[in-house]
Symmetry: C2
């Protein structure tokens, strides 16, 4: 049966003249044991909520996964799809893509991230088991990872989190073939992986990755441990590929016709290309059907269980009814007497209304809880013994945290949010991107969003980060100006099912921009303060600089210059408005000025090429924030002066 | 003597009402033993080439370093500077900043990176020792790292590289106080650090971090090991801070007057604020002077050694005379008969001319050597036994690689370059940023720079990366169009002493843009193909899309539409041109079209708000690249059609 994976992988890579058969062939035995004897799934129902999750962290070995999906009978991966491997529009792209191919649990390829994402899946499983009981939620997460995955730094963050939380439903199958692209792995790696995982609190075991008995015994052992498990599978890369077996250069090599012929002969494989002998196909299909019985029994339990309907709702990604009632009431209340504060504090206040109403929200922070205002009073830590808590202490692990959040969202049933400083979005950026690519609801709270953080200085002051996040497709970047916008941005982020969001929030106190509700932030940009008469000047700003723009407006109006102010809390939502609505927001004032304590890049959207920008063009500095705004010329006076100059 | 550090740290944080005294007080004993008995330095000569390097990876504890620099007599840190801690314009910013305060070896604060940067320093030392002999190069690198540093993923990459390369001149002093911002570290970390480092090939030892005898014994042990060393120093955070000693909340806490009074009394410290009793000051100053003798002896050896002058040149950052002779000759030669190829290949050809001429260039790749074309035939691996090789196998560790390159550049005497895929600039971005902030010459080769990489699909296709790198201050982003531009861009990157560079290079074959030399790329943007008459249309493009623009020009000219083409290989160098020169390049054609296989953000610089952009607005897909360019509408025909439409 494993040879079926090997042959299909060889053939698909050969046909595409591109791709990797080294890992699929090397790990075919391990995958066969897993998918025929241990993995809980039903090929006819890829989205069964209580299935085991399988993550191919070494995503370049995608033909392993496509072979498995095809052989076990997942509809999305037909023989034609295998023949169209890596072609336009196929279900079999170069790396597995979530949302594109049913049966693929996670987009993988950027190494290390599959493993880190799987940690989040295992966390979500424990959280849901605590909420809905083990009758309804009781499954495992299995990962295949290679040398490259374990070299990446994010693997350290991931295994430390998993070890600390004793996620015993998580098993990593390490393809221990001592090969990476540049040659034998030892040219760059001599670490002892077993000792390393053990140091992180994992139970570890090594097996011959071609010995089915040993593999099965190790899997039986793994499911009984009280902590996460590593099974190091000693394998020969491209196992079965005749002359290329165990050759480091076969990692991403396309076999020649003759080489494939030799390999097929050695396996005694005579079937036509892309076909599988009937008996082998039958056995694989039976494996793919085995879980149906369990799935049906589970469906009956869900039906019978009083919590079953709520689990179904949460897994679908629907919010609870009345999810925003408390938030809307809070907005109405603060609108009566709005007060200035830091937007991180105002975000925290919004969370205090949301988290009780939306029990699937799971918060956390990368060791900056007090600074990020992500913790809501009364939350308990997500931890042993029962994982019922909803606040995760991720440690100083921004990337691991973001990847784990992706895993939670992929698993479903939970809505993860958590925090760090905006400058450290650089650390978590690869996972933010993967979340955007996968189209999943993950909310990244990023506080201390400009030079306004003050004394910590330029290492901690984002300057280019808002722009560089806005450059990323598929991501909502929010930068609210005050309490009402903060609440509205949270609502918009939660209502968006198929995109991650970043909340950029100030450390320092800002002004009051709004005195009424109305969900205006959902428009992305809107006139927050009209001109007295016909506007000569429009000031555009986001976040903490809206208050500066409003003060500048007063200065200009005092000079008799009619000025309006537009707040731009989310450019991506603005892009969704009709051209007419956009034009109305941009307006017809002859002078347009943008104010943001970051770089100019992208602001032409609002101010055109000839518009005036007041912001940063260099890194910041260490000093109290009031001084920094003054030294870098981001003040109401500077904005008013810039507008006056442009009017002349 | 250690109490002097404690009191100064308490007082500076107290005066600034901001900062961290927890770590400086906890590690005061370890730092005192290091700086009075082991560290090789001369306070009067902070840039002595053969000094030991000291890196405070836990940069938030900056008052530890400032106290040491002040006490030992570094001129940059006077008493007044300590009083101005974290104030505008002071030499004592919130986190230590390289280039800002002489004596600070490395900008730190973003956790984990100091350690990873130190690995590069230790590598540079070994490389220079091989080149110039241990008479001239013979020093160590010492790091202080905290729990946070060791949680960050980059620490894994760093210690793996150091363990693999057996960098025995590197010692990490781990502030093992079991405290992070959110509380006791065990809320997020239960790993065994000693076992972990041992698994990575380090020699490890634990000591009582307040016992000077134990500390000194461990340092004596460390310098004798044949591999990198970890000394875990069990400490009490805020040691000496009276009621706040060992309190997790004292990490970033500002002590009250009464608390400081209690602490001073317990230490028997009666000196005025920011002053040190004479005897203690004398002892510290003596420690700061101790190295002068060794420094002078070394200077004499440099003078006497035939290689001494070259070491001095390399450490100053001067290139060898005639560094570009071979490259210029190569450009002249290929200009006679230019051929199309992938720009990554053309970059490799330029490197083949440069690396023999510039022996301080040290190359490498994060396990993509064959794809990045960073390896030049004849290079040997940088490795044991003598480290004379100039090619580093970094493994799949993009972030650790970039940070190590920063460390090499900071150390001086070497010019590091190395490669990965452009999409993985997200992994190394935090280190690219720190290099930009520090202003150091590091060259990041980033190949596979668009959807042009084809089958690997959207996980591997950069779309927003060129824009988001251009958004970063202090960084040169090059995207050459052909062989001549590739050579010119390398020359410009090497000539820039105080900025890192990113080389964005295509996987796929491009066209020929240029038929003569002239270092035009150094202008950042220039007319690569003039219009026949007065231009009605200007096409702007970079990299692989210049060929597309040139083909579109032919289509438009055939229609009688006079069209010119501008190549924009480096926007940041364009920004340095005079306004008149910039205006001439932008030209007066009524229609301006930009073509780049990435997002539009930033292109308004060339095309204005109303300009036409042909590029990407979403993630890519998996397919052969020709198909992708067609499907995403980035073709000569599409460019010509867009220009025609705009003309109407």
């Amino acid at each position: 049966m494993a040879d079926a994976i090997r042959v299909l992988s060889m053939e698909a890579v050969h046909k595409a003249r591109s791709g990797h058969q080294g890992m699929p062939m090397g790990m075919a035995d391990v995958a066969t044991v897993l998918w025929t004897r241990f993995l809980k799934y039903d090929a006819s129902k890829p989205d069964w909520a209580d299935r085991d999750r399988f993550v191919l962290s070494a995503g370049h070995g995608s033909m392993l996964l496509y072979s498995l999906l095809h052989l076990t009978g997942f509809k999305a991966v037909t023989r034609q799809q295998l023949e169209d491997f890596r072609q336009w529009g196929s279900n079999t792209p170069g790396h597995p893509e979530y949302g594109h191919t049913p049966g693929v649990e996670c987009t993988t390829g950027p190494l290390g991230q599959g493993l880190a994402t799987a940690v989040g899946m295992a966390m979500a499983e424990r959280s849901l088991a605590a909420r809905y009981g083990s009758d309804l939620v009781d499954h495992r997460t299995w990962v295949i990872a290679g040398d490259g995955c374990l070299m990446e730094g994010v693997s350290h963050e991931a295994i430390s989190i998993a070890g600390r939380l004793k996620l015993n439903r998580l098993t990593v199958l390490f393809d221990d073939n001592n090969v990476t692209i540049d040659g034998v792995a030892t040219i760059a790696e001599t670490g002892d992986q077993l000792a390393r995982f053990k140091a992180a609190g994992w139970a570890v075991k090594a097996v011959d990755g071609h010995n089915h008995g040993q593999i099965a015994a190790a899997m039986r052992w793994a499911v009984k441990q009280d902590r996460p498990t590593l099974i190091a599978c000693k394998t020969r890369i491209s196992k079965g590929a005749g002359p290329k077996e165990a050759d480091p250069h076969s990692h991403g090599y396309t076999l020649f016709d003759e080489e494939i012929a030799v390999a097929r002969q050695a396996m005694g494989w005579t079937a036509e290309p892309f076909t599988v002998p009937e008996d082998i196909e039958k056995a694989w299909r039976a494996a793919g059907r085995k879980g149906a019985r369990h799935r049906k029994a589970w469906e009956a339990r869900v039906k019978a269980d009083p919590k079953g309907a709520d689990l179904t709702r949460a897994m679908k990604g629907d919010l609870p009814k009345n999810a925003f009632d408390a938030l809307d009431a809070y907005v109405a209340k603060i609108a009566e007497n709005p007060t200035a504060n830091a937007t991180r504090t105002q975000s925290g206040a919004a969370l205090a209304e949301l988290t009780p109403a939306i029990p699937e929200m799971i918060g956390g922070s990368a060791d900056l809880t007090g600074s990020n205002n992500t913790f809501v009073k009364g939350m308990l830590p997500f931890d042993l013994p029962d994982y019922a808590g909803r606040y995760v202490h991720y440690g100083v692990r921004e990337f691991g945290m973001a990847a784990a959040m992706n895993g939670m969202a992929l698993h479903g049933g939970v809505i993860p949010y958590s925090g760090t400083f905006l400058v450290f979005s650089d650390y978590s950026r690869p996972a933010i991107r993967l979340g955007a690519l996968m189209g999943i609801r993950v909310i990244h709270v990023m506080t201390h969003d400009s030079i306004g953080l003050g004394e910590d200085g330029p290492t901690h002051q984002p300057v280019e980060h808002v722009a560089s996040l806005r450059a990323m497709p598929g991501l909502l970047v929010f930068r609210p100006a005050d309490a009402i916008e903060a609440a509205e941005c949270w609502k918009a982020a939660l209502q968006e099912r198929a995109m991650p969001s970043v909340m950029c929030l100030s450390r320092q106190k800002t002004g009051v921009a709004r005195h009424s509700g109305g969900d205006l932030s959902a428009k992305g940009a809107y006139e927050v303060s009209p001109a007295k008469g016909e506007a000569q000047v429009t000031l555009f700003a986001s976040g903490s600089e809206v208050a500066i723009a409003l003060s500048a407006q007063l200065l200009l109006q005092a000079d008799g210059i009619d000025t309006r102010v537009v707040s731009t809390p989310c450019w991506e939502l603005f892009d969704r408005q009709t051209p007419a609505a956009q034009a109305a927001v941009i307006g017809k004032a002859s002078v347009r000025v943008a104010v943001e304590a970051g770089v100019r890049m992208g602001w032409e959207k609002f101010i055109g090429q000839d518009g005036v920008f007041v912001g940063m063009s260099s890194f910041g500095a260490s000093a109290p924030y009031e001084r920094l705004y003054k030294e870098f010329g981001i003040t109401p006076e500077a904005v008013a002066a810039a507008a006056r100059k442009a009017l002349k």
